[in-house]
């Protein structure tokens, strides 16, 4: 299994999902070898055998991956240009950009070194990662190759080529979700399509994503399967504790186009017009942050609208403990694990219909992301009619306890078995 991240060090939902899938498979008796660019050593080895790509020795002379492009010459130069990030991020990143990738040459054999994450040398790291994958495919015993999201598709494709084993690619998000029209990255989209084409089975995390894969990437529908995500039971109980008298409405996610933070601001304005006994909290960071702050100031609701920046682990639980409503107005959300986390903390949830998670949840209020009227009505209703919010949070809690990774693993095992029959 190839994945770019694995808990505890994660940047978003991808790592969480990889962890869940690996765990679900293990529960169903599947042995998982999880290859990630750079393991930190504190990953849970009981879930999967974690292989850190930077620990694998590769001899590029024998690499099909590097030698298959012999008639093309690659000239590398150290550019600080990074694909698919906006101007804003570029300038903040440029300072941090120390070249993290270097090669330790000892004769021809070498270890590639990875920074992990999604830094400036991502494209180069993806190539090195693929070379590692090839090496592993030659030396390891396995039945199925499973690659998560586009970063690992090149690795998946080469591994399939060398080993002849079936390839499953797993779509957690596509470039169509991440960016709006005109800002999409062609390189990424090409890699995505290449991976999907090469795969024997494409797993999409929702019907919404499945449709994107079929309609926008033109992948034959019969090999695209929807496999909804699940959630890990939360071991820590969230303590409901609030230090403000007002009701608290929370948004949690990257402050980017995809997550629709501007609709959250509009909704806040509408509700505050009628009822100022509410506070709105925006948790997260991203390229739209300054725009959102400016809009909040312009509307003059800064006294009731708060920004926390990026939060993790314990802080998120604390935030849920304070929240009366959780809102996810995503414009396009392949799945969306965070509403599940909110429901686990017994917070009633309002989500956009344009999210994959809406397909599996019943005890949530679903609205169109652009319909800030409906969104404010729903939030107002949850804040003012305690029976409703109790009904939703109580039943929602029961509902998500039935979304288990174990079941996802079982379905995946079926797919693996089917692939190995052919």
């Amino acid at each position: 299994m190839f994945g770019w991240e694995f808990p505890p060090h994660i940047a978003g939902g991808l790592g969480t999902a990889c962890y869940g899938i690996a765990k679900g498979l293990t529960k169903n008796g599947v042995e998982v070898l999880f290859v990630m660019p750079k393991a930190s050593g504190d990953e849970d080895q009981r879930i999967a055998h974690i292989v850190s790509a930077d620990q694998v020795e590769v001899d590029p002379r024998y690499s099909t991956y590097f030698n298959s492009n012999q008639n093309i010459a690659f000239i590398e130069f150290n550019s600080k240009l990074i694909p698919y990030i906006g101007m804003h991020d570029y300038y903040t990143l440029i300072d941090q950009l120390e070249s993290n990738v270097f090669e330790e040459v000892s004769s021809h054999r070498r270890h590639y070194s990875f920074a992990g994450g999604y830094g400036g040398n991502l494209m180069q790291e993806i190539d090195y990662y693929a070379a590692v994958a090839e090496q592993l495919a030659k030396t390891q015993e396995f039945d199925v190759i499973h690659a998560h999201d586009w970063h690992t598709y090149k690795a998946g494709i080469i591994a399939k080529k060398v080993s002849g084993k079936p390839l499953v690619v797993h779509i957690h998000a596509t470039e169509f979700d991440r960016s709006c029209e005109g800002q999409r990255n062609d390189i990424v989209m090409n890699i995505e399509r290449e991976g999907m084409m090469a795969a024997d089975i494409v797993c999409a995390v929702s019907d919404l994503t499945r449709n994107i894969v079929i309609n926008n990437y033109h992948i034959p529908a019969n090999k695209v399967i929807t496999l909804h995500n699940a959630i890990e039971p939360n071991k820590k109980e969230v303590i409901r504790e609030k230090n403000v008298p007002e009701k608290v409405v929370t948004f949690l996610g990257r402050v980017t186009f995809q997550k629709g933070p501007e609709y959250f601001v509009e909704t806040a304005r509408k509700i505050l017009e009628k009822d100022d006994h509410v506070r709105f909290v925006l948790v997260g960071d991203g390229d739209m942050m300054s725009g959102v702050i400016e809009r909040v100031a312009e509307l003059g609701i800064s006294d009731k609208f708060h920004f926390t920046g990026f939060l993790r682990g314990e802080e998120i639980n604390k935030m849920f403990g304070m929240s009366d409503v959780y809102v996810m107005p995503s414009v396009s959300e392949p799945f969306g694990i965070s509403p599940l986390e909110a429901m686990q903390a017994a917070v009633p949830v309002v989500i956009s219909k344009q999210s994959g998670v809406a397909e599996v949840l019943h005890y949530v209020i679903k609205i169109d992301f652009w319909d800030t009227n409906a969104m404010s009505d729903a939030i107002y209703g949850l804040l003012h009619y305690p029976v409703l919010s109790e009904f939703i949070s109580k039943n929602g809690f029961t509902e998500i306890n039935n979304l288990k990774w174990e079941y996802v693993g079982a379905k995946l095992l079926e797919i693996y078995k089917m692939l190995n029959k052919h």
């Binding site: 009628k274 679903k366 729903a378 029976v387 939703i392």
Partner: protein, 394 residues
Amino acid sequence: MHNLCIHFVLSQPTRLRNYRFFDINSRHDYFDEYQNHYLTNRIADLSYRPLNTLMLELIAQYGNKVAFSFSVAGNTLKMFQEYCPEMIDSFQKLILAGQTEFVGSTFTNSLASLYDKSTFLEQIHHQEGLLKELFGLHPTSFCNTACIYSDEIGEWLHEADYDTVLTEGARHILGWKHPGFLYCNPYNTNQKLVLRNSSLCNDIEFNFQNQSWDQFPLTAEKYLHFIHSCPKKVPLTNLYFDYEMFGETHRKESGIFDFFKAFCELVANSDDIQMITPSQIESLSLPTATMHAPWAISVSGEEKDTSEWLGNELQQEAFNQLFKLTELYTKSDNEKAKRAWLLLQSADHFNYMGSQWISHPSVKRNFDVYPSPYQAFINFMNVLNDVKLQLEKA
């Protein structure tokens, strides 16, 4: 001689508009006039008018060989008055034609009978007033909202002078007993209970177009045969249908009207079965047995209970909050708010909040405007909050 009683129930909810929290305490127009106008006319065209015309034709042709009864909720009559007055004429013609009986009901298809006597009687009096005003008649039989009935409701109805009550032949109450006999209230044996034969009703309602049904297709002869296959001593077959079943659930193209016409002709021409209306049952002087209904029964679902409207916490909360205002209602003289309060009692509003729609949102619901039970609840509560404020003011 076997007796066949065919009763039609007509009720359209007065739909609420999308009443936003902004509107609370500032705007007091709760109803979606456009939707109500459009949908009333649409269903009148599809169902009500053709069925009434068919009944008129049958009566003209067969005279006292055919008989029908119907109950029409007051709020629906009000909508006819406003949006499609020719329906009122149509009913007037039916009443004049004879061989029909107008059965009493609540004014707004209300759930009041599940709350208390006074609000229930208030509903009945409103309906009686309206029937007097429109048609100059006073009903003697009663068909409650979705045939909701219990021993207690029976007593209240007796107080309101209704001693023939139409309700469901609920199997969990009847046990082995056949709904084709005449039953009575155990505490007041003068009150006759006319029970719906749900399996025969289902044969049309659910199976008329069901091609996987082993008896498909249903013909008039086959249906009459079903009726005759009951035990010899059973004197009654009572069939209650929603008007919408003709023309809406089963479209004209399905042949439902032709089926019904053929069936009535068959009955009119046969000697061993006659059509009657509920109030005529008394004169048959049939033997009666008591039927004890300690809890409310209804025609709803498989359970034949009230869970369709009061099954989850949202519905119960809305119900309690609504009927808590009874006292305010009696004290207030804000007629508009009072009328709105009566309309909010409609069972349809509670149906929209039902849990059955949570897990099966894709099931097409007739004329339901809400995307989910939660939105139905929020909208209802927003309106209720404003109605409350209005009742308090006056």
